[in-house]
């Protein structure tokens, strides 16, 4: 009699235990999981940190508004530290262990290129926040991006230069994927704007003195210098040019469109022109610009939430999450449906531009995604002519 009672107790306890384990699993089914992989620390933290915060902000806003189809969204975010190897490991984890429905990020071109095979094989939608044109050209079914391409950035610079009579340029690019991609675009697009590249030089990402390269460029007598890189190299270039009293204009890439560049370059930043997303000059936009309202709203919410100045880069993750949220509505957590819905989005007004996706176009932005600005008194001034 006693033995039977004990056995019964054991069975009941085991049953309760199993039931108890099932409950969290059932509760977890409820939330939609979205993965994030950003270079939160490391040399590209100026990209990854605002992107992470923006993603968290959007997810919280979505959840406060009731979630997607009534289900909450959960963001699982990892730090790639700007390293392609670590990015791969993290994305592998997101796909197989965390089983996310989609991945937002990575922040940089090299890290994105490293994780694309995982997204394609795992058939998980990847919405990258990196600029390299090779990410979406040629088109890969599962890979999208929200950052403006360097193609558009170069076109914006050359367009401005053509209008202002610049005929010869010297280019100085950083020797990594971002700089190489920029150089390729600068060289190939020059002739269609009537511009000649008279000197091409490169510099290492960690170099602290570019005067030899600038000396060579100066010798070729260009009308302007274009520097393509991300901090801190371009700041050194700006300082070197001032030190060498080179008074031809300096143009930079959108990679330096952040307050950090102005801080590093100091006085040398004055008068530098660059292409940037509209976010840096949102208040200066005309009233009828469709992006103005979205931008001002993002800026207000981001700065209230983080007490930090907004930068264009956080907007990539903001747009990515909004686009994904639109695609996830009605999908019931099916990755293929999410991908198809994402590809069909048209006319989405985001922080980075107006998105129009299609099976051949997975970046979805046009030339109006960039405006030319000039740094005056340490602030960004929209150039309207």
């Amino acid at each position: 009699m006693r033995g039977m009672g004990r056995a019964l107790m054991k069975m009941t306890m085991t049953g309760l235990l199993i039931a108890g384990l099932c409950i969290p699993a059932v509760a977890a089914e409820e939330a939609y999981k979205v993965g994030g992989i950003f270079s939160v620390t490391g040399p590209a933290s100026f990209l990854g940190d605002p992107e992470k915060r923006s993603l968290e902000m959007v997810v919280d806003a979505i959840n406060e508004a009731g979630g997607i189809d009534g289900r909450p969204v959960e963001a699982v975010i990892y730090d790639s530290e700007g390293d392609p190897g670590k990015a791969r490991l993290a994305v592998g984890k997101l796909i197989s262990k965390d089983r996310v429905l989609a991945v937002i990020g990575p922040s940089r071109t090299p890290t994105t290129l490293a994780v694309i095979p995982l997204a394609e094989q795992g058939q998980v939608p990847l919405v990258s926040c990196a600029a390299g044109i090779q990410i979406t050209q040629p088109v890969k079914p599962w890979v999208f991006k929200t950052a403006q391409s360097d193609v558009l950035a170069v076109a914006a610079i050359y367009d401005y230069m053509k209008k202002h009579g610049v005929k010869k340029v010297g280019i100085l690019t950083v020797s990594n994927a971002f700089g190489e991609s920029g150089k390729e675009q600068l060289v190939s697009q020059a002739s269609s704007f009537g511009i000649e590249v008279v000197q091409e030089e490169s510099f290492g990402a960690k170099d602290t003195d570019m005067t030899p390269q600038l000396t060579k460029i100066r010798k070729a007598e260009p009308d302007a210098v274009i520097c393509w890189g991300t901090n801190p190299g371009p700041a050194v270039v700006a300082k070197n040019m001032k030190q060498m009293s080179m008074d031809i204009p300096l143009y930079q890439s959108h990679g330096v469109a952040s307050p950090k560049f102005v801080e590093l370059a100091g006085e040398a930043a004055e008068g530098i022109r660059l292409p940037t997303g509209k976010i840096l000059v949102a208040e200066q936009l005309p009233e009828d610009d469709p992006q103005r309202a979205v931008l001002l709203d993002y800026i207000k919410n981001y700065e209230a939430r983080t007490s930090m100045t907004v930068s264009g880069f956080g907007g990539y993750a903001y747009d990515a999450m909004h686009l994904l949220a639109k695609a996830m509505e009605g999908s019931g957590g099916d990755r293929q449906k999410i991908r198809d819905a994402l590809e069909a989005i048209q006319g989405h007004v985001g922080v980075s531009g107006v998105f129009n996706f299609s099976p051949e176009e997975h970046n979805g932005l046009g030339p109006e995604a960039f405006v030319m600005v000039e740094i005056r008194d340490g602030k960004w001034k929209l150039l309207t002519d």
């Binding site: 490391g42 960690k206 602290t208 003195d209 030899p212 000396t215 050194v236 030190q243």
Partner: protein, 291 residues
Amino acid sequence: MQELLQYLFSGVTSGAIYAVIALGFTMLYNATELINFAQGELVMLGALTLVSLWAGLQLPLPAAFVLAVAAVCGVGLLLELLALRNVRKPHPILLVLITVGASIFLRGVAMVIWGKDAHGVPPFSDHPPLEVGGATLLPQSLWILGIVLLIVLSLQFFYKRTLTGKAMQATAINRRGAWLLGIPAERMVLLAFAISAAMGAVGGVIIAPITMCSYDMGTLLGLKGFCAAMLGGLGSSWGAVLGGLLLGVLEALGVGFISSSLKDAIAFLLLLLILYVRPSGIFGSGAVHRF
């Protein structure tokens, strides 16, 4: 002609940086026959401490200078006391590996304290760049060259004219022999570490205004400084200075006349060449030990 001059100026500036670091290597080697691969990190710590004290806490420059040097000196002393002194079997390679480990550790600590961003400081004096023959030279470069000269002269004076300096040389030549004569060998080694760390710190402080200071600036600087020391001859102070300047100038000329992508390759190519052709360097003494 104008370009050549500009390359030379740029080369002399970076060369002075390498010279300061090479001096640190040489000085310690002179006293202990040890290569301290954490020297680059000591330079980095000097630079970043200056950033915190001068730009951050807004202390006056001389005070920030002295405090930064003192702080890094302390780090060098701790390195010797904790990591190197009590090694049971002090085989040279083992000690060198310990210094490599120390460099990684210091880099990690710097990353935690100062983050991964780059920091800048304004130059010591507010003069505009100097125009010489159509090329420009930064006034900070003159500061660097001047201070390097001061350091070398002080070191020569220390070694040739003071008893402590001679005692340190004696300890380097034969530790046991010096100890038998009453020279406190352990204290000499500690002093050597202190001085070479201080030199590394001074190097960091004076180059901070013209480079971007970040937690990982020490790695490449340390390696190039080591190349410069080998180039000039390990053990000779003037050799360190000459090696540094030569390295800087050759780098700048290489970038200017051949290709900008070769910049780092030039330093290491030179190192390989020197080790192959004349391992004792330009000014080094004939005997070179192999482990």
